[in-house]
Amino acid sequence: MELLFVQALSGLASAASLFLVASGLSIIFGVTRIVNFAHGAFYMLGAYVAYTLTSRFAGPLGFWGGLLVASLIVAALGALMEMVLLRRIYQAPELFQLLATFGVTLMVQDLVVVIWGADDLLGPRAPGFTGAFSLFGRNIPTYDLLLIALGPAVLGLLWLLFHRTRWGVLVRAATQDRDMVACLGVNQKWLFTSVFALGVFLAALGGALQIPRTTVTHYMDLSIIVEVFVVVVIGGLGSVTGAFVAAVLVSELNALGILALPKISLVAVFLVMAVVLVVRPFGLFGKAERAPRSSAGTSFRPWKPMTSIERIGVALIVALAALLPLFAGNYALSVGSEILVFVLFAASLHFMMTVGGLASFGHAAYFGLGAYGAAFAIKFLGAPMGVALLIGPLFGLAGAVISGWFCVRLSGVYFAMLTLAFAQIIWSVAFQWVEVTGGDNGILGIWPSRWASSPEGFFWLTLAIVAVSVALLRVLVFSPFGFGLRATRDNTLRADAIGIDRKSVQWAAFIVSGTFAGLAGALFAFLKGSVFPETLGIPISVDGLVMVLLGGIETVSGAVVGAIFYKALAIWLMSQTDLSKLVLGAIIVLLVVASPKGIVGFIEQIRHRRPPSPNGAGSSAARADASDALGIAKMKVAE
């Protein structure tokens, strides 16, 4: 009993640091609707800057002053990012800002190593809080007590700020209906910037407060960002109180859970999130979301099937690609195969995300399931490659059937986070179940059958499978099913009214998408010859998102182009420089600013800017624009 109590105290201390960072993220999302992927980067920067300041200025004033000044400096950096980067893209489709903040995160990861060096840095302990006090014969660090007190204190201060100041009232109003706030003449720009700065300040403070407990490292951001997202979602987006309760819940379950199950930490938070979201679709304290301003994939120009000329063009490109083995070397071919695999992966995510309006943060789950399915077929059944390539997608399908059933009950970011939870649970099974999956050492020796083992053979096989699959997905987009799916995306109420069952249509889309992702995963297993839990990991999911967004979320072929561009660039940079993340991040940020509609969106925009051509293509585009504008006007009225 005493142990449980002391353990619970330790849990509260962990909860406090988690809450600080999470509250910042929650506030930012509540007002600006930005999924701020760079929040972990600011947490890390807070720790690095605080390390520099506290190492230089000793004494209590130097230490506490250092923490505060460091948080302010980083908050200023955050405000700067909001002003020069995010302000330009508020009008872009939702989630596009995620891409910008992801680019910043990549850059910061390399920059801190360039600035502060590769070694782990140990900051000073907090003056006055270096010791411990005794409780039931057990020692508890006094710094833990400070943190335990700090959590509710910050919560209280935030409450006062939001309920007793004019600024706070505006922030709460904007959280509920920011269009209305804008209509009332509030300067949104500065409201957004100040909210962003406050959120970043809290993240940086959370990082700075870690100095007395751990070393400052260049991978700190990764260790917290996902957990913080989870806490925010469990609490309910935009709810600071919710974030506090969720942080306590997660930390306590972890602290007490490891007494019984020492290996539970790996997956605890995701289990909690999955359960909470299944029971309460908007988190503990969240409210049902208003219809979003413009859901992902609302097209600025109606989609049309390709004209016959365009079809011939695409067929020519595929034929040209098929000629590649005649003059390219083995390395180029295997890179080509890898790019093709990710084209299929991105296309499968695109089907769900753009056509269905269901953004998934855990799409790697089905990719990885496909890879493991193929590997199991080879290892346990001794199946030939052809059979394994069928079993892989079946694994993806099975995973999508189960998780999809739960996920389609949710929408928006909650949907995305539940997909993430399922992905992480599957990942931890692959990671822990060493007897079957080999744990993190993976499954080796998954090489293609002889008929496809040459780089040329495998390239042709991949090209054929990917071309057919992408074509099939495209056919689906323009099938009655695809139209129904788009109807559920664009207007749930109207879709309901004309008799479309939203859940089953979206579930079917989820399954289609998961199956094709599984096929991509199975191909990936044979391309690499081995399968590791990383195929199920968050970085693969994020890569998929980046490909779709980069190509242009409002377009039909954006995913294909985005995948080719991103994967080729990533592989090339990786081979050329150790600072590949810095360069890649910078390119993403530049692209985001230059063309918020993505690469394909940008190209289409240029194409349609041409003067009307004799065959009338221009005028039909103009008509489309007009009807589009009308649609937007109607939507505004509806809101």
């Binding site: 140990l122 020492p262 390219a328 690499k528 990786m574 590949s580």
Partner: protein, 398 residues
């Protein structure tokens, strides 16, 4: 879409035709987690470049210049394989080397087997790479999990402690190390029992609750296999809570400067650790290495430096041992290959492809506000490996 696809394809075509071997050069490929784990790989790269310079200054490999092409793997097995493919298929390297993480080492070793190219694993510690998943094409330099577990168990057996608790990161490295330690210690001391265990996720330890749970079990001694940031959290929290007081602690890798130096004045005293006490090693070969390293970089070497240096020495030795640089000849030359390292001569065993590189075992202490190792003893690798006949049985039939 057409434009982009066309661009990507033509970029690939250009890239594929770029590199051609120059006369008078021998190219080898090297892969490591440069961007993801710079704390290890920066000193490692320095050690590698030092050895490379020494070899080429002394005339290279039989008059030919040795060239090492290094690639980053971003700590992902998939990317490591892409890099390996580039090195072998495009750059035409005669062999592969490198690796830090165990899963990347295993991925590369399987690639080496498939593509029939020699792979010298530098740092991966997993026993699987030479035993349960060993293959003809893979050799490993670094003192393995099993060897270091046996060395530490030998010291642990001398302690009076009977009740043990373990803390290790929750992945194969931690799991197999704890298993090997348990087995080795129980063999020497059948009376010990393991009464508690904690498996925090790598880089995400919640040190307070973990230590509290260990403390509650009241063990006599603790085995730790966490490192880097997790280790610092563990030590700081444990010092404050007094968990390590009056308890013996055996701690894996903690004496390596990479992990010991960040602890500064919080270094716990009297922990039994494996590591690299570069300031206390008095052998002539090490002194020569140390002098050359400090002269070149104005910095002290880390363990990574020794690994990088010895990897390149191994590469040079095998290339010198045979005129024919086909994979078959290189593998033949690797077996029983003798290499001089800063830790003295080592041999790559023919039966299981493991080098006999040893390790330093000692106790932690504090000096001038910094952590050091004292009472050091060098344990020869060969003494802590199963006999070659036994080891050969651990490998799959190829």
């Amino acid at each position: 879409m057409k434009y982009v696809a066309g661009l990507a394809l033509s970029a690939l075509l250009l890239a594929s035709g770029a590199a051609h071997a120059q006369q008078g050069e021998i190219k080898v490929g090297e892969i490591n987690s440069y961007s993801a784990l710079p704390g290890f790989t920066e000193p490692y790269r320095k050690g590698m470049e030092l050895a490379l310079k020494q070899i080429n200054d002394a005339g290279g490999i039989k008059g030919k210049k040795l060239v090492i092409i290094s690639k980053d793997d971003g700590a992902k097995p998939g990317d490591a394989l892409t890099a390996a493919n580039e090195l072998v298929s495009r750059d035409g390297v005669v062999l592969l080397a490198g690796g830090f993480l165990s899963n990347i080492g295993l991925a590369l070793s399987d690639f080496a087997k498939q593509k029939q190219v020699l792979y010298i694993a530098a740092e991966p510690l997993t026993d699987a790479i030479v035993w349960s998943k060993g293959n003809d094409y893979t050799f490993r330099l670094r003192t393995s999990n099993y060897m270091q577990a046996s060395m530490l168990a030998e010291e642990a057996a001398k302690l009076p402690a009977k009740k043990w608790a373990t803390i290790a990161p929750n992945y194969e490295f931690g799991q197999s190390f704890v298993a090997a330690f348990k087995e080795a210690l129980t063999k020497k001391r059948p009376d010990v029992e393991f009464i508690a265990e904690q498996w925090p996720p790598l880089n995400k330890i919640d040190a307070g609750p973990v230590l509290q749970a260990i403390d509650a079990a009241k063990p006599d001694a603790i085995l730790n296999a966490t490192f880097a940031g997790d280790l610092v959290k563990l030590v700081r929290e444990g010092n404050t809570r007094g968990v390590f007081k009056d308890r013996a602690v055996v701690s894996y890798l903690t004496g390596e400067p990479e992990y010991l130096d960040p602890l500064k004045d919080e270094t716990p005293e009297g922990w039994i650790v494996t590591g690299y006490p570069w300031y206390a090693i008095k052998t002539a070969v090490h002194q020569a290495f140390l002098d050359a390293y400090q002269k070149a970089y104005n910095d002290y070497p880390r363990l990574g430096s020794v690994v990088g240096y010895s990897t390149v020495k191994s590469i040079a030795a095998v290339l010198n041992a045979t005129d024919d640089h086909s994979t078959a000849s290189l593998i033949k030359a690797m077996k029983e290959l003798k290499v001089d390292t800063p830790f003295g001569p080592v041999v790559y065993r023919g039966a299981d492809h493991q080098s006999t590189l040893g390790a330093y075992v000692g106790k932690t202490a504090k000096k001038d506000g910094k952590g050091i190792m004292v009472d050091i003893e060098f344990k020869k690798g060969a003494d802590y490996l199963p006999s070659e006949a036994e080891a050969a049985k651990l490998r799959p039939a190829n």
